[in-house]
C-alpha cells in the first residue's frame, strides 16, 4: 500500500492523510480536542483526543455518537435499529452501521491515559478499504523525548516539555507558537505568495518587517543558507512573557532563521526566545 502523502503530528498521535485533506479546526489543549479535516467537497474526517480512564468504554461513546448523528440528519426513527458492528483493525476498534453512515475508530493509549477517536461521517465499504483504513493504519504514537508538531504540511519537533500556545492559519500565512520550560518560546511561521512578497523587497527586508509586527527587536541580521535555501539568521530580543511581564518584563534573547524554499514557493521562519538561564534549542535541529 502506498504511503499517504501528508504528515500530521499533534499531541499524542502521528498519522498520514490524503494531500487534499486540510485541517479546518484545531485545538491546543492536551486534555481534550479535535482536528477536523475538510476537502473542497466538505468534511473528510476528524480525529479527537481526550484524557480518559482505562475503564472507558468506547462502544457506548460510539453508540451515543451514532444516535446524535441520526438526530442531526433527521433520521431519529432509526436510532433503535442502529446497532454498531464492531471489528478490530491495527489496534483500533472500528464501529460502523450501514453503508453511508459514520465510521468511528477508537483506541486507548495506555501510557498517556488518552482515548483517540477517528470519525468519518460517510462510509461505504469502498471508502473504508481505500480511504479510511490507510489513514487509521498510518497511526503511530507521538511521544518520547521529542514531540512532532505538524499541520498543513509544515511543522517541527520539540523537546517533550513544549506545548502549543497559539496557532494561526490565514491563507498564505500560518504560524505555530509553543511554550516550554520557564515560558521559553519556540515558533514556526510559513508564508506563501513569495513571488509577490519578494517582488520589491529582499528576504532581510521581509524578515525585519515581520518581526517588527511581532514586536520582536532585531539586534543582528546575517545572510546565510539553510539546507541549501537562501536564508537570514537573526539575533532577536523580546520582552519575556510571564504573567503581566508582557509590558514591563525584561528582554529575553533569542535567535531566528528565515529561509526561502523556492521549490515550494514558501518562506519559513523558526525562532526561539528564552529566559537567560534556560538551555537554548538548536534551531537547525528542530526541522
Amino acid at each position: 500500500m502506498e504511503q499517504l502523502p501528508q504528515r500530521i503530528d499533534w499531541h499524542y498521535f502521528s498519522c498520514r492523510v490524503s494531500s487534499d485533506w486540510e485541517v479546518t479546526r484545531y485545538d491546543l489543549s492536551n486534555q481534550r480536542g479535535k482536528l477536523n479535516f475538510s476537502t473542497r467537497h466538505g468534511h473528510a474526517g476528524s480525529i479527537s483526543w481526550e484524557k480518559t480512564s482505562a475503564e472507558y468504554k468506547p462502544e457506548s461513546m460510539m453508540n451515543d455518537f451514532m444516535a446524535k448523528h441520526l438526530l442531526a440528519v433527521k433520521e431519529a426513527e432509526k436510532i433503535e435499529e442502529a446497532k454498531l458492528q464492531l471489528e478490530t483493525f491495527e489496534g483500533w476498534l472500528l464501529g460502523s452501521w450501514q453503508e453511508g453512515y459514520p465510521l468511528q475508530a477508537s483506541r486507548y493509549l495506555e501510557n498517556e491515559g488518552v482515548t483517540l477517536k477517528w470519525t468519518f461521517l460517510h462510509c461505504t465499504n469502498t471508502e473504508l478499504e481505500n480511504l479510511y483504513k490507510p489513514v487509521i493504519k498510518s497511526f503511530s504514537e507521538n511521544n518520547g523525548d521529542r514531540k512532532k508538531w505538524c499541520l498543513w504540511n509544515f511543522g517541527l519537533s520539540l523537546p517533550a516539555g513544549f506545548k502549543p500556545k497559539e496557532v494561526n492559519a490565514i491563507p498564505a500565512s500560518h504560524s505555530m507558537k509553543f511554550t516550554g520550560p520557564e515560558n521559553a518560546q519556540a515558533a514556526i511561521n510559513r508564508w506563501g505568495l513569495t513571488s509577490e512578497i519578494l517582488k520589491h523587497q529582499t528576504l532581510e527586508d521581509f524578515s525585519i518587517k515581520q518581526y517588527n509586527k511581532m514586536q520582536i527587536h532585531i539586534s543582528e541580521i546575517e545572510r546565510t543558507t539553510f539546507n541549501g535555501h537562501e536564508a537570514v539568521k537573526l539575533k532577536i530580543k523580546k520582552r519575556g512573557e510571564k504573567g503581566f511581564d508582557k509590558l514591563i518584563g525584561r528582554y529575553w534573547d533569542g535567535d531566528a532563521i528565515l529561509w526561502h524554499n523556492k521549490e515550494l514557493k514558501r518562506i519559513y521562519s523558526l525562532r526561539q526566545i528564552k529566559p537567560e538561564k534556560t538551555q537554548p534549542l538548536d534551531l537547525e535541529d528542530l526541522i
Partner: protein, 114 residues
C-alpha cells in the same frame, strides 16, 4: 455594487463566472493597468480611475466572461503552490474586491449549460 460572493456556499462560489464591466477602458502603465470606469446614466455617478497591480491584476486579466471561479482557484493554487483552501479564500477575496470596485460582475450558468 457590493459582492455577495462571500456569503454564498463554496459550491455556488466556485460555479460563478465573473464577467467584465463593459463600461471601462484599460491602459497599460508602468505600475500595472490603469482602469477608467465611465459614469453610468445615473446622474450621481462620476468617472472613476484606479490602477490594478499584482495578484489583483493577474486575476482580473483572467476574467474573459467564460472562466469560472473554480478554474481561477485551480490556476491560482497551481501557480503559487498553495492549498485549495488558501487559494480559494484569496481568490474569493480578490473577486469580492473587483466586484465592489465595479470592474466585474458575477453570473451563474443556467442548469442547461452546466
Amino acid at each position: 455594487m457590493s459582492s455577495e460572493i462571500q456569503k454564498l456556499n463554496m459550491e455556488k462560489q466556485l460555479q460563478a463566472v465573473p464577467v467584465r464591466n463593459e463600461h471601462l477602458s484599460e491602459e497599460r502603465v508602468e505600475k500595472g493597468l490603469k482602469i477608467t470606469l465611465e459614469p453610468t446614466q445615473d446622474k450621481k455617478s462620476k468617472q472613476q480611475r484606479l490602477i490594478l497591480e499584482g495578484l489583483g491584476l493577474q486575476l482580473f486579466e483572467q476574467v474573459n466572461n467564460q472562466i469560472t471561479v473554480d478554474e481561477m482557484v485551480t490556476d491560482f493554487q497551481a501557480a503559487h503552490l498553495l492549498s485549495f483552501f488558501e487559494a480559494h479564500n484569496l481568490v474569493v477575496q480578490y473577486i469580492d474586491s473587483l466586484v465592489s470596485w465595479g470592474l466585474i460582475g458575477l453570473t451563474w450558468p443556467s442548469a442547461d449549460e452546466a
